[in-house]
């Protein structure tokens, strides 16, 4: 019957989102942003196909240039890119900082959107109020 399979689909959707919200609660306490560069002679590797960052990094084709980990208990770890003389590479650093800000904004919006979608799916299942 169509309505049974539909209910299953909605239930699966709601369950998955609920699981995701759970994941958020456990994982949201930390945010990581990694910025890599690659030498020009390796660029072709990345033009077509998927990037497996961990594998490529292990193989030495990528260089981790900046890294930020923010723990929402107040700790933050930041690796700042420097040139050979010890000066900060400002172009990479500015880009990295902008990405950190972008990731924070994206996370906030995703939490809100997923929470609302899960709530509406639960409403459709009649498991919460309808307003």
């Amino acid at each position: 019957m169509a309505e049974v399979t539909l209910e299953e689909a909605v239930r699966k959707f709601a369950n998955d989102l609920a699981t995701k919200v759970d994941t958020f609660i456990s994982d949201v306490s930390e945010l990581e942003v990694s910025t890599y560069t690659t030498p020009a002679d390796q660029a072709e590797t990345f033009i077509k196909g998927e990037t497996d960052f961990s594998q490529i990094e292990t193989e030495g084709k990528l260089a981790l240039r900046a890294y930020t980990r923010i723990s929402f208990d107040g700790d933050a770890t930041v690796w700042v890119p420097t040139e050979a003389g010890g000066a900060i590479n400002t172009s990479v650093w500015e880009l990295h900082q902008a990405v950190v800000q972008q990731s924070l904004e994206n996370r906030t919006k995703m939490i809100q959107a997923v929470g609302e979608a899960a709530q509406s799916a639960l409403r459709a299942l009649g498991l919460t109020g309808s307003t």
Binding site: E7, D16, V33, E50, F53, E94, E116, A117, S120, G126
Partner: protein, 244 residues
């Protein structure tokens, strides 16, 4: 101006091929076996920076317009759910179609064929189910955005479910080009959020519509009709923007 391209691969979205006018989604038949399991946006920018900026600005406006259209669809759905006062039930319009679907759900079986057995409605149920499954998979995975300009990679960003970012800077990419990549990422992620919001509008609207119905399980049964309504309104507003 040579044309840019904002293509989504690794995902099909049934009935939403031109979501908010931002993505080019390959038709389901074109999805090849072995395609990337993760959704990936491939942004091919025009060769000149000025044209690339204009291309992304055009996509940004399309997304903003799509978000406004979704908000309008939400308002119109609420008005139908509230009883339809002041609602235009123009023949063939989204409101009339929805009203017809709601009435069909309430008609006694003795006077009307089983609406669930109706071929069109059966197809709508299947499409809604497929869409729900696709969105569930779509939002559960990593998202990858890569930006190319003149055939050269300028940036690739992988975004994890909880928001962790890994960014690969293309060799030799300038600060301005990297800013273009960042804007590509923002548009991709924002359009994904808009898609999730569309589901919220459908679910919330269906719950309100169900209050008007006496058929058991109405809040579930009305979901496909609510989804169709939202799609129809989005389509109408895109084709006839003056109606908003």
């Amino acid at each position: 101006m040579d044309e840019g391209r904002f293509a989504l691969t690794g995902a099909t979205l049934t009935g939403m091929d031109d979501l908010f006018g931002v993505w080019d989604v390959p038709p389901a038949a074109a999805v090849q076996f072995g395609a990337p399991a993760e959704p990936a946006w491939r942004v091919e920018l025009p060769d000149s920076r000025a044209e690339a900026r204009a291309f992304l600005e055009q996509k940004r406006r399309a997304l903003k317009r799509g978000e406004a259209h979704l908000a309008e669809a939400e308002r119109r759905l609420s008005r139908v759910a509230a009883g339809g006062e002041g609602v235009s039930f123009a023949v063939g319009g989204p409101e009339a179609e929805l009203q017809r679907a709601l009435l069909a759900m309430e008609e006694p079986a003795a006077y009307a064929p089983d609406w669930r057995a109706d071929a069109d409605r059966g197809k709508l149920f299947q499409r809604w189910r497929a869409f729900l499954d696709e969105v569930r998979a779509f939002v559960s995975r990593y998202a990858q955005v890569e930006t190319e300009m003149a055939g050269t990679l300028i940036g690739r960003t992988t975004v994890g479910w909880t928001g962790d970012f890994e960014v690969l800077l293309g060799p030799g990419a300038t600060a301005e080009e990297l800013a273009l990549h960042r804007e590509s990422v923002r548009l991709a992620l924002q359009s994904r959020i808009a898609l999730i919001r569309l589901l919220t509008v459908v679910g919330t609207g269906a719950a309100k519509l169900a209050l008007r119905l006496t058929v058991p399980g109405a809040q579930l049964l009305v979901l496909p009709a609510a989804w169709k309504f939202v799609r129809d309104v989005l389509h109408e507003l895109r084709e006839w923007p003056g109606r908003q």
